[in-house]
C-alpha cells in the first residue's frame, strides 16, 4: 500500500505576515485617527482630510481588486461586470442616505428631491426598506449577491467560459447602466444620488464621521484579506485553482465546477457590493457612470498590475494605479489616459505576474 502524501494545510499567514498584518491594523485603527484628529493641522505629522478621503476611497477600490483576484486570479474567470455589483451596493447605500436627508432637501418634502422634481407622490416599491439601516445592511449584501447568483447560475450552467463570459458580463453591466440612466426606474437618472446629509442621524461631513468610515473601510479590507486567504488555502480554493488550470480534468475527476464557480462568483460580487456601500458615503455621490465598461475593466487592471493570484498584489495594484491617477489627473491631466493605456499594455506584455511577481523574481535573483 502506497502512502498518499497530502499537502499539509498552510497556516493562514506566516509569522512575518501576521506581524505586518498587525502593523497595518494598528496603522489604520490607531495611528491614522490620532494623526488626523488629534495632531494639530500645522504639524508635520498631521494627516490631512484630503489624505483620509483619498486613502479611504482607494481602500474601497482595493476591496474590488481583491474580489476580482478571487474570481479572475484564482478561478480564471474574467468578469467585466464587477462595476455593476459595486454600483448596486452603492445604490442601496445611496437610497438609505437619500432617505436620511428627510425634509432638509431643496423642496422640503419627505420624498427625495428628484422624485419631487418628477412630480411623484409616493415612493416606488423598491424604496420600501430604504429608511431602515438594518434592512439597508442586509440589502447591500443581498442585492448584488442575488443578481450575481442568478446571472452566474445560468451562465455557468450552460458552461459559458472565457471571453464569452467576459463579454456577456459586459453586456449585463451596459444594460443595467442604460436602465439606471432612466428617470422612471427611480434611481435619480443620470444625476444619481448626492447631497447626503446624515448617516444614522449623525451629520456625514464631520471629521470624526469621515474617520469612522475610514476605519470601517480599512477593517473591512483587512477582514476580507483574511477571508480570501482562508478561502484560497482551503480545499475549496484548491478546486478553484484546478478549475482555472484545467476545467475539463476537474470534471473528469468527478467534480462539478458549477457550485464552486457559483459560490466564488457570488462571494466576489458581495465583496464588491460592500465596497460600493462604503465608497458612497465617503465620496458623497453615486451615479450610473460607475457602471460604465471602463470602470469594470479598470478593476481588472488593478489586479493585473499588482499581480494576479497573490491576494496582496491586487491591493498593492489598486493603490499604485489610483495613487498615480489622483497625482497625474492633477499635475498632467492630458497624460493620465496615455499612462493608463501604457500600463494596460506594459503589464500584460512585460509583467504577467504583476509588481508582486517582479519583486519575488528580483528577490530570487538576489539570493
Amino acid at each position: 500500500m502506497t502512502n498518499i502524501l497530502l499537502p499539509t494545510p498552510a497556516p493562514l499567514l506566516g509569522r512575518k505576515a501576521w506581524s505586518l498584518f498587525l502593523l497595518a491594523l494598528i496603522t489604520v485603527g490607531v495611528l491614522a485617527p490620532v494623526f488626523n484628529l488629534l495632531v494639530p493641522a500645522g504639524s508635520a505629522f498631521h494627516l490631512s482630510d484630503y489624505g483620509v478621503a483619498l486613502v479611504g476611497k482607494i481602500m474601497c477600490f482595493a476591496i474590488c481588486a481583491l474580489a476580482m483576484d478571487l474570481i479572475w486570479g484564482y478561478t480564471g474567470i474574467l468578469s467585466l461586470g464587477h462595476g455593476l455589483f459595486f454600483a448596486l451596493g452603492g445604490y442601496v447605500m445611496g437610497m438609505y442616505l437619500m432617505r436620511q436627508i428627510g425634509r432638509d432637501g431643496n423642496y422640503k418634502s419627505d420624498l427625495p428631491d428628484f422624485m419631487v422634481f418628477l412630480d411623484w407622490k409616493t415612493l416606488p416599491w423598491h424604496w420600501t426598506f430604504s429608511d431602515s439601516f438594518i434592512a439597508t445592511l442586509i440589502l447591500i449584501i443581498a442585492v448584488p449577491g442575488l443578481v450575481a447568483f442568478v446571472f452566474g447560475y445560468f451562465a455557468f450552467r450552460s458552461r459559458i467560459k472565457g471571453v464569452y463570459f467576459s463579454i456577456i458580463t459586459q453586456a449585463m453591466t451596459f444594460a443595467a447602466m442604460l436602465l439606471f440612466f432612466r428617470n422612471e426606474t427611480g434611481f435619480g437618472g443620470n444625476n444619481g444620488f448626492t447631497d447626503f446629509k446624515r448617516i444614522l442621524d449623525i451629520p456625514i461631513a464631520t471629521p470624526s464621521m469621515r474617520m469612522t468610515l475610514f476605519v470601517l473601510t480599512s477593517l473591512t479590507l483587512l477582514g476580507f484579506f483574511l477571508l480570501a486567504r482562508w478561502l484560497v488555502g482551503s480545499k475549496f480554493g484548491r478546486v478553484l485553482q484546478a478549475i482555472r488550470d484545467a476545467e475539463t480534468r476537474v470534471m473528469f475527476s468527478g467534480y462539478s465546477p458549477l457550485p464552486y464557480k457559483l459560490t466564488i462568483w457570488t462571494i466576489s460580487a458581495i465583496m464588491c457590493g460592500i465596497a460600493g456601500a462604503l465608497y458612497v458615503p465617503q465620496v458623497g455621490i453615486i451615479n450610473p457612470g460607475e457602471m460604465s465598461a471602463a470602470n469594470s475593466i479598470e478593476i481588472a487592471i488593478w489586479a493585473a498590475v499588482g499581480g494576479r493570484a497573490t491576494l496582496i498584489g491586487p491591493i498593492v495594484g489598486a493603490f499604485i494605479v489610483n495613487g498615480a491617477k489622483s497625482w497625474l489627473t492633477v499635475t498632467a491631466p492630458e497624460f493620465w489616459l496615455y499612462f493608463l493605456g501604457a500600463l494596460f499594455i506594459g503589464v500584460t506584455l512585460f509583467l504577467p505576474n504583476g509588481v508582486v511577481g517582479l519583486v519575488k523574481k528580483l528577490k530570487g535573483e538576489a539570493q
Binding site: S158, I167, I168, F174, L178, A293, G341, A342, F344, L349
Partner: protein
C-alpha cells in the same frame, strides 16, 4: 374632363363671390385707406377683402405695411421708401404732406399681415416660395383665404404644389360654417392619405358638433390610417435594415480580428474612430484645395479611411498583439489600453470636441415611396456600401490566395506553416484587413452620426454582440446577427422606446448565448473547442 369642368365651374362661382364682395379690380385708394386706418377689426376685414382680388400692387402695399414703410395723412395713404413718397395705387411719386404720421400696427394686425403675405407667396414665380406659402396656409386654415387658394390652384403647374394646394383648399373648407361644405371637405380629405391630413382631420374632429360631419371625419380618418399602417410598418423595417447594415459594417472587421484570429480587440471601436477622422481630414483637404469637387470627397475618403486604419492596425499587430496570441484575456486588457491611448491621441491632435463632417449634397434628401415613408439617400448609400464591403470581404476570404492563407492559418497554424505559409506575416495582413474594414465602417458612420473621440466606445458592445451572436468565425452568421438585431431593435423601439428596446435586445442576447453558447451557427467538429 370632369375635373376640368368642375374647376371652371368653381372659378365662375368664385368670380361671382368676388363680385358680390367688392369691385373686381386691383388695389384701390379706398381699399388702401380702409386697410391702413381705423379699428383693427375693420382693417383686418378690409385686408381680407382686398386679398381676394390681390395683384402685385396689393402685395407691394401689404409688404410695405409689414415693413413699417407706410404713412397716413388724413384719409390719404403713402408708401415712403428712401424718403420718397409713392402712391400705393398708381405707384407714381407724390409729395408726402408734412403732417403725415407713421402707420402703427398692433400684434393682431401684424399677424394678419404676415398671414396675408404668406398667402401672396402662392403667386410667386419661385417654386420654393410657393411651397412655403402653402405650408404656412396649411398650418392655419382660414376660410377667408379660399378664393385666393382657388386662384392659385388654377394657375399652378407643379403637381407637387398643386396637391398641397388642394389640401389647403379642403382644409380651409373644413373650417367653413356651412355644414355641406364641411362634409364635402371631410370626404375629399379622406382621399389624401398623408400624416398631415390625419392631423388636420383629428383637429377638426375635436371641435366638430354635427353628427354626420363627425361620422364622415371618422370614416376618412379610418381610411387614412389603414393606408398609413403599411407605410409605418415598412418604415420600421427600413430603419431596422439600415441599423442592421451599420451593425454589419461595424462587426465585419471584428469578424476577422476576433472571429477568425481570436483577438479580443477592444480597440476596434477606436480603429473605426480613426476611419471617421480620416474622412474628416480628407473633407478638410477638399475644402481647401478642391472646393469644386467637394461633393465627391467621400469617394476619396473611403480608401484613405481604409488605409489609415489598416496601417494603425498593422502597427498594433506588430508591436503588441502578436505577443499575446492564445491569451485572449490578456489581449482584452492590452487592446483596451491601446484604445485609451488612441482616444487620448485623437483628443490631443483634434481636440476633445466633436468635429463636423458634412454630408455631400447628393446624399441629402431621399426617395418618397409612400406618403409617410421617405427613404433617406444617406441610409440607402450606407446599405449599399455595407453590401459592397461584405461582398468584397467574402471574395477576399473565399477566392483569393491571401484568403486561403488566412483560413489555413486559422484552421491549423503548424500545418499551414509546414506548407510554407509565413504565418506571422499572414497574421499581420489579416489584422490590418480587419482594421481597415473598421476604418470603412468609421467612414460610413461619419455620415450618420457625430464624429468625436468617443465614437468607438458607443459601438464596441454592439459589435461584440453581433459577432458573438452570429457565431465566431462565421461570415454568414455575422450578417444574420447584424440584420436580425437591427430589425429586432427597431421593431421593439416602436412600442417600448429606444432605451428599453436596447436593454431588451441585450437581455435577449444574454439569454440566447445561454442556450447556444456558440452563436447561431456553431462551428462543428475539431475547431469547436478551440
Amino acid at each position: 374632363m370632369h375635373r376640368h369642368r368642375f374647376i371652371k365651374l368653381f372659378m365662375a362661382l368664385c368670380a361671382g363671390l368676388c363680385l358680390a364682395a367688392g369691385p373686381a379690380h386691383a388695389l384701390t385708394a379706398a381699399e388702401a385707406t380702409a386697410i391702413a386706418t381705423g379699428e383693427t377689426d375693420v382693417r383686418i376685414e378690409a385686408l381680407n377683402k382686398a386679398m381676394a382680388t390681390a395683384d402685385d400692387k396689393t402685395a407691394a402695399f401689404i409688404q410695405a405695411m409689414a415693413d413699417g414703410e407706410v404713412k397716413v395723412a388724413g384719409d390719404k395713404v403713402f408708401v415712403v421708401k428712401d424718403d420718397k413718397g409713392l402712391d400705393p395705387v398708381s405707384g407714381a411719386a407724390v409729395a408726402v404732406p408734412g403732417g403725415a404720421e407713421d402707420l402703427v400696427n398692433n400684434n393682431r394686425m401684424r399677424g394678419a399681415l404676415d398671414n396675408a403675405l404668406a398667402a401672396l407667396k402662392l403667386f410667386s414665380k419661385d417654386d420654393k416660395l410657393r411651397l412655403e406659402g402653402v405650408k404656412a396656409l396649411l398650418k392655419e386654415p382660414d376660410e377667408a383665404r379660399l378664393p385666393l387658394v382657388e386662384k392659385a390652384l388654377a394657375a399652378e403647374a407643379s403637381p407637387a404644389i398643386k396637391a398641397q394646394l388642394e389640401l389647403a383648399r379642403a382644409a380651409a373648407l373644413l373650417g367653413s360654417a356651412d355644414k355641406a361644405r364641411r362634409l364635402e371637405a371631410a370626404r375629399a380629405l379622406g382621399q389624401n392619405k398623408t400624416p398631415e391630413t390625419k392631423l388636420l382631420l383629428n383637429e377638426r374632429l375635436k371641435i366638430e358638433t354635427e353628427a354626420d360631419v363627425k361620422g364622415q371625419l371618422q370614416a376618412s380618418l379610418q381610411a387614412i390610417e389603414a393606408a398609413l399602417v403599411w407605410g409605418d410598418k415598412l418604415g420600421a423595417l427600413f430603419s431596422g435594415i439600415s441599423l442592421g447594415s451599420i451593425l454589419l459594417l461595424v462587426a465585419l472587421g471584428l469578424a476577422i480580428t476576433y472571429g477568425l484570429m481570436g483577438v479580443i480587440n477592444m480597440a476596434h471601436g477606436e480603429l473605426m474612430m480613426i476611419g471617421a477622422y480620416a474622412t474628416y481630414v480628407v473633407q478638410g483637404l477638399f475644402q481647401k484645395y478642391l472646393p469644386g469637387a467637394f461633393d465627391w470627397y467621400l469617394l476619396a475618403a473611403v480608401p484613405v479611411a481604409f488605409a489609415a486604419s489598416a496601417l494603425v492596425g498593422a502597427a498594433l499587430e506588430r508591436s503588441v498583439i502578436r505577443f499575446l496570441y492564445g491569451r485572449p484575456l490578456e489581449t482584452l486588457l492590452a487592446t483596451w489600453g491601446i484604445s485609451l491611448m488612441l482616444m487620448q491621441g485623437v483628443r490631443t491632435l483634434f481636440g476633445a470636441q466633436n468635429v463636423g463632417v458634412e454630408t455631400p449634397r447628393w446624399m441629402s434628401g431621399g426617395v418618397q415611396v409612400l406618403s409617410n415613408l421617405t427613404l433617406p439617400y444617406n441610409r440607402l448609400v450606407i446599405i449599399g456600401f455595407a453590401a459592397a464591403v461584405l461582398l468584397g470581404m467574402a471574395f477576399l476570404i473565399g477566392k483569393t490566395r491571401l484568403g486561403l492563407f488566412v483560413r489555413g492559418v486559422t484552421q491549423n497554424r503548424p500545418i499551414a506553416s509546414c506548407m510554407g505559409v509565413n504565418t506571422a506575416r499572414i497574421d499581420t495582413y489579416a489584422f490590418a484587413l480587419g482594421s481597415g474594414i473598421a476604418g470603412l465602417a468609421g467612414c460610413a458612420l461619419s455620415q450618420v452620426g457625430n464624429v468625436g473621440p468617443d465614437l468607438g466606445q458607443s459601438y464596441i458592445v454592439d459589435s461584440f454582440m453581433v459577432v458573438v451572436l452570429g457565431g465566431v468565425g462565421q461570415l454568414a452568421g455575422t450578417v444574420y446577427a447584424a440584420m436580425g438585431l437591427g430589425i429586432l431593435n427597431k421593431l421593439l423601439e416602436g412600442w417600448t422606446g429606444a432605451v428599453l428596446a436596447k436593454i431588451a435586445v441585450l437581455v435577449f442576447i444574454i439569454i440566447f448565448i445561454q442556450k447556444r453558447p456558440q452563436g447561431i451557427f456553431a462551428m462543428k467538429g475539431r475547431s469547436a473547442e478551440a
